[in-house]
């Protein structure tokens, strides 16, 4: 399941809903991205996440489907926020559930790596010198490339 929303989310409620009634699940790996108060040594007061409505949902669904095809998942969830956020705010939640932990961990990391390089979101940070757009990280491309099946 995927959701793109302005509102915050509650991880406990999300994971309970995800696993409810599915007693074949042995483990749930999850990742929560939080807004940091500093980037490259510059203090960040706030951040605005822009996205491409329509394509964002399609990309997240495509990424989720790929994870389901590669690992024996019993449930999965991606929740990504947009709009203005402040330090400490939750940005994204990715959760994957499987009978055993290895598949849950791997697929959760895969989803985060792909989401970072494919989902059409852009961050603009508010710094003491004014707003600046976040540049894509080469380390994110590298992280995503290790999942490629050659």
């Amino acid at each position: 399941m995927i959701r793109v929303q302005r509102e915050d989310f509650d991880i406990g409620i999300e994971l309970s809903a995800l696993t409810r009634g599915k007693t074949g699940i042995g483990g749930v790996a999850s990742f929560v991205g939080l807004m940091r108060d500093v980037a490259d040594g510059t203090p960040i007061h706030a951040m605005t996440l822009e996205h491409y409505p329509g394509m964002t949902e399609r990309e997240l669904q495509r990424i989720e489907l790929e994870a389901q095809q590669r690992w024996p998942l019993l449930a999965s969830l991606i929740v990504h926020r947009y709009g203005r956020l402040e330090p400490g705010d939750r940005i994204v939640l990715v959760a994957t559930a499987s009978a055993h932990r290895a598949a849950a961990f791997e697929s959760c990391e895969f989803l985060m790596d792909y989401l970072k390089t494919k989902a059409p979101f852009w961050k603009q940070e508010e710094t003491p010198d004014g707003p600046r757009w976040v540049a894509a990280a080469a380390t994110d491309d590298l992280a995503a490339s290790r999942w490629r099946k050659d």
Partner: protein, 83 residues
């Protein structure tokens, strides 16, 4: 054809969205980018570095030689920074 621009591309170009029909010779993504760059200096500057551009047609990532047809939704944006 519907054109969309995001993030600092949108900021540089000065518009988020427009309806336009490129001339018949503009048959693929590459040709569209070249044609847009000739419109004015804002476009020329925003689209200057091809490696810093990502293009989606009808909300799916496409390559430089993807063909275009009337009615397509074409989005041009910088590398994504979500997550």
């Amino acid at each position: 054809m519907k054109l969309l621009y995001f993030a600092h591309l949108r900021a540089k170009i000065g518009i988020a969205e427009e309806q336009l029909d490129p001339p018949p010779g503009v048959g693929d993504v590459s040709a569209l980018i070249e044609w847009l760059k000739r419109r004015n200096t804002r476009f020329a500057e925003a689209l200057r570095e091809p490696r810093a551009l990502r293009v989606a047609v009808n909300q799916t990532y496409v390559g430089w030689h993807h063909p275009l047809k009337p009615g397509d939704e074409v989005a041009i944006f910088p590398p994504v920074t979500g997550g």
